[in-house]
């Protein structure tokens, strides 16, 4: 826990809702300027972990540090430097979009009005509209604007794209999040929790996959792409029924054999070449495929 550039450090986090353990002995380090993905199926413990970072839940065991500070002791200091977009966005129904943004701006020492104006235009939001009349996706858009405008050091996004239409989703991920990080390169950090991994493929630097409250794997995105490979071999006759050491998954369809290799790609390729295939191709896995392979 001595990494000076670590923005988030979680060590041995355990949290239980009554008797049901949601997170068990979970550790995570997010370094400054990175876009970190927290992937997992529904109920994997992603939201619980984020709530522990925000001091919305008190860990039963383990240590949580944000900016090197304990969120339960330095609550305001921590929250002043971050912004959070929850999975279920709710606002006061009597407030308009304008009033909601004013209300949230009053808590911040800095609020970029140009960004606010730009994002309201991009998302085609009417500032005078009451929040009670907003759709689920529009509420998420307002929450995203409210998170981006104070230009915080850390952005915590919990399923941020749920409810957004594909155009806005792409716009948000490629333009808004990209522009946010480029605004102060190397200093702005993002922790995004999602199960819609494909959408964040190009942004994620590192990620952790969670399942049933436990860490399944933590890797850099490039490292993952190198390590996990999809190998396709096509044979002249029926694909041979051979076991491959280091293959995570294997499927045989007539003359074709498809394997997912976990760090043992060269050895598997060598073994396949010995079987004299008609063609042999390799390709890197997408993060979503890594996620599926890891959890299968």
């Amino acid at each position: 826990m001595n990494d000076a550039s670590a923005i988030i450090e979680i060590k041995g986090l355990t949290y239980a809702y009554s008797r049901a353990e949601a997170v068990h002995d979970f550790s995570l380090t997010v370094r400054q300027g990175r876009c970190y993905g927290l992937f997992g199926r529904n109920g994997a413990g992603k939201t619980t972990t984020i709530k522990c970072l925000l001091n919305l839940l008190r860990p039963r065991e383990g240590q949580v540090r944000v900016f090197g500070l304990d969120p339960s002791r330095h609550e305001v200091e921590v929250k002043r430097r971050l912004a959070y977009v929850p999975d279920h966005v709710a606002f006061y129904p009597w407030m308009s979009v304008r009033e909601t943004l004013n209300y949230l701006a009053s808590f911040r020492s800095h609020w970029n009005l140009d960004v606010e104006r730009d994002l309201l235009n991009r998302f085609r939001l009417d500032a005078g509209q009451p929040t009670a009349a907003l759709s689920k996706g529009q509420r998420t858009q307002v929450a995203l604007i409210a998170a981006i405008c104070p230009e915080p050091e850390l952005l915590l996004l919990d399923e941020p794209t749920s409810g957004l239409d594909p155009i806005v989703r792409r716009e948000f991920i490629e333009t808004v999040i990209g522009a946010y990080q480029e605004g102060d390169p190397g200093n702005r950090t993002i922790l995004v929790s999602t199960h819609l991994i494909t959408e964040f493929e190009g942004l994620i630097d590192e990620f952790t996959i969670m399942d049933r409250g436990r860490e399944v794997m933590s890797l850099g995105a490039d490292q993952a792409r190198e390590r996990y490979q999809k190998i396709r071999a096509r044979f002249i006759g029926e694909a041979p029924a051979v076991e491959f050491k280091g293959a995570l998954q294997m499927s045989r369809k007539g003359r074709e054999l498809e394997l997912i290799a976990n760090g043992e790609g060269p050895q598997i390729l060598e073994q396949l070449r010995r079987l004299a295939p008609e063609s042999l191709t390799t390709e890197a896995l997408t993060l979503e495929e890594v996620f599926v392979a890891a959890l299968k």
Partner: protein
Amino acid sequence: MKRRIIKEFRPLVLPFCFALAAASCVAFFKHVERILVSEESVGFFVGLSSFALLATVILMAALSFGVEYHQRTLGLLLSQPVARFRLWKEKILVEVGAIAAVAVFLLLVHEGLKLPAGRGLIVAISSNLWPSHEIIRGSHSELDNFGYWILAGTFVLATLCSAGFWTLIARSTIGGAVFTVASESFLLLLMTAALEKLGVSDSGQIIAIEIAAICYSGIFFWLGWRKFATLQLQHFSSGEGALSSQARSPAFWFAGSFSNRLRCQPKGVSLNLIRKELRLQKPVCMIAAVMTVGWLMTLVLLWLQPGRKEFYDAILAVLTAFYVPLVALLAACVPLGEERALSVVPWQLTLPVSIRHHWLIRLGTALSVWIGLGFLLPFMLAWIASTKTSVGLFYLLQDTDNGLAMLFIAAGFLFVFSFWAITLVSNTIRAVLTALVMLPLLALIVALGFWFSAWMFNGAETDLLAALSSRGFPFLSQEVMWEFTLLFTLSVLALAALTQSLVLFRRPETSRNSILRSIAGLAAVALIVGLWCGDLVTSASHFFE
């Protein structure tokens, strides 16, 4: 069908149990009143428990539809492949069944204790909301038991039939309950005034009112069904402030320039938090508005018909008796209850402002609203009425037994425990019921502490009193000792409840264990305080002897 009936009954369980407890208390205190010589103090408890019973019946009538708004399940319910009429019928059936069960239970307890049949009990119940004994102005004896049961029955019928409509209009349980009571009361008031003007006899008035009540029930039952059958889920908003958030009509009392002043600005955290808290208090403001209209209307009628002063005095007294505790309870718990209903609590807690700061602003604003609307407003209204009659808080001010101060302390205690309860439970209604259950429970524990102290310590504080006395400590007399122990007990319990609420305020959700721990903690404090105060009183009696 069976599962749906169980689902419909589920939200009524807590008020149903509360109603059964209140019904038991009504019968029990009537029984005590019968065997005790001094009836006055017991009569207060009979009134209190019958008030609780009636309030719960109204709540149960409004809750069936209110809970669907609160839990945001109306869309889910209406999307099921079941005819709306069937859904409506099931809700009404469950309401009728629950209220009928309470009535049967009340009768059984009444019979079990062999209480004198009829009148006293029913009058005690019906007079709280439906001032029937005042309507017939001293002619109670002419009305037999059956007549009183009919009066109480018509009140329940009118409430049951109209609560659905008003809840669907208000889109909240509290709004529905307030509108139900207000519409019944206003109609009753206007009708009795008109009948009196026409010179209709007392018995004629009763018959006319009962016929009107049946017509009213039929019309509102039909209106309620029509509203449910054509219900559209437009802009979704839930919680007790839903009524006030839905309409931007200039006719709506809260809209306009005052509302504009409560709009948040880009600067000023504390001011924005206060603005937000005030906006969350809209249901309380709505109740205050209804009460003010009712009061002023009664006052106008009093000016027009000074001969019926006794009747109008009773109505003003009932209004005050209902309003003061209700506002104390709601001003404390509505804001957080509303935020919970809107699911904005976790989001609020992530804003960069200290929890203590937010909690203090919430407490301060709620306190101001309670004092302003729960005390100053009824006092001002009573002062306006003082040219014609001495009633309400103005009457208590002139009371030699510190009636106003006692009411303020009692309402303050309600406020604190309601504020505490909402940090524990998930919604406003539960918070109100929890506060109302906790108060007698804590009183019982303190009383137990008193009883145990005499048995365990038997005046261990005598030396302390002697030491204080030798140093010339003021206020040391046996008479003051009771007042001191009462104030000390209330202060310690209030402080403990507020401390717990601050701790719980940090958590967006509370588990069953933490609820039990908090209740146990308060019970322990109550027991310790009871033990100490009990011993202090025993010591004082030893010392002063």
